[in-house]
């Protein structure tokens, strides 16, 4: 997804460029990884426009700003929904005290909100390398699936 420019090629950075670049730089290793990068890039772009044009590092195929903003909005909707769903399953466990419900709650938490929040926080608040962020999120998803697998076997 990254189309590097030839050496010496320069351009100007706009919010759309930065959003597009963020998507390309994260190279589909994860899902919210890219959104996290896009949000980070948006903030960077806002700063860069105040300071004036910056030299472009690479040209990308990131898509339009509208699509990028729609993706960011959908990301936050998905995070909110994942937290609501986890809460519902936890409530189900509290009412029934059934062990499969507990594993389902843990599984859904590890499958949906945990990887999204992990990628978002690690990408924006720390300097953890991309591979570590991505593998941590994938590990959480795998553990979540194993918990759900237990639930499915129990029923």
């Amino acid at each position: 997804m990254i189309a590097h420019t030839s050496p010496g090629m320069t351009g100007h950075t706009t919010a759309a460029d930065a959003l597009a670049r963020a998507g390309a730089e994260t190279v589909m290793g994860g899902t919210s990884e890219q959104i996290a990068g896009a949000v980070h890039a948006m903030a960077t772009a806002a700063g860069s426009e105040a300071l004036g044009p910056l030299p472009a590092v690479s040209s990308t195929v990131g898509g339009s700003t509208v699509v990028a903003l729609a993706a960011i909005l959908t990301f936050f909707v998905a995070v909110g929904l994942s937290i609501v769903v986890t809460y519902q399953v936890v409530q189900g466990y509290r009412q029934t005290r059934a062990r499969p419900f507990l594993f389902l709650a843990v599984g859904i938490f590890l499958l949906a909100p945990a990887p999204m929040l992990l990628r978002f926080v690690l990408a924006n608040a720390t300097s953890v390398p991309f591979a570590v962020r991505s593998l941590t999120a994938a590990g959480a998803e795998l553990l979540g699936l194993l918990c759900i697998l237990y639930t499915v076997y129990q029923r």
């Binding site: 896009a38 593998l135 795998l142």
Partner: protein
């Protein structure tokens, strides 16, 4: 030395495959017992694990989708999957 993108792609692929397996088991539970919860769980798991992998590593490159569109597709898939689970646990 294996490239970082390869390692992350393999990790995503393993997650997608395991997701497909768990979803197949849940779908079988839905067919056998008529459990709506299991049916919704099957749809949700496929939408959260398998579809994003296909969009990112198969459809995106094949259709030359922009990164923005790919991300939007992945996030929409997540949302649809979560809505399916939400609907049965409400």
């Amino acid at each position: 030395m294996i490239a970082t993108s390869t390692i992350t792609a393999v990790a995503s692929g393993v997650t997608a495959l395991l997701g497909l397996y768990v979803a197949a088991l849940a779908a079988r539970g839905y067919r056998t017992h008529g459990s709506r919860t299991m049916g919704a769980l099957a749809v949700g798991i496929v939408a959260i694990t398998t579809v994003p992998f296909l969009v990112a590593h198969v459809l995106g490159p094949a259709l030359a989708l922009s990164d923005g569109l790919s991300i939007l597709g992945i996030m929409l898939s997540h949302t649809i999957g979560l809505l399916a689970i939400y609907a049965t646990f409400r």
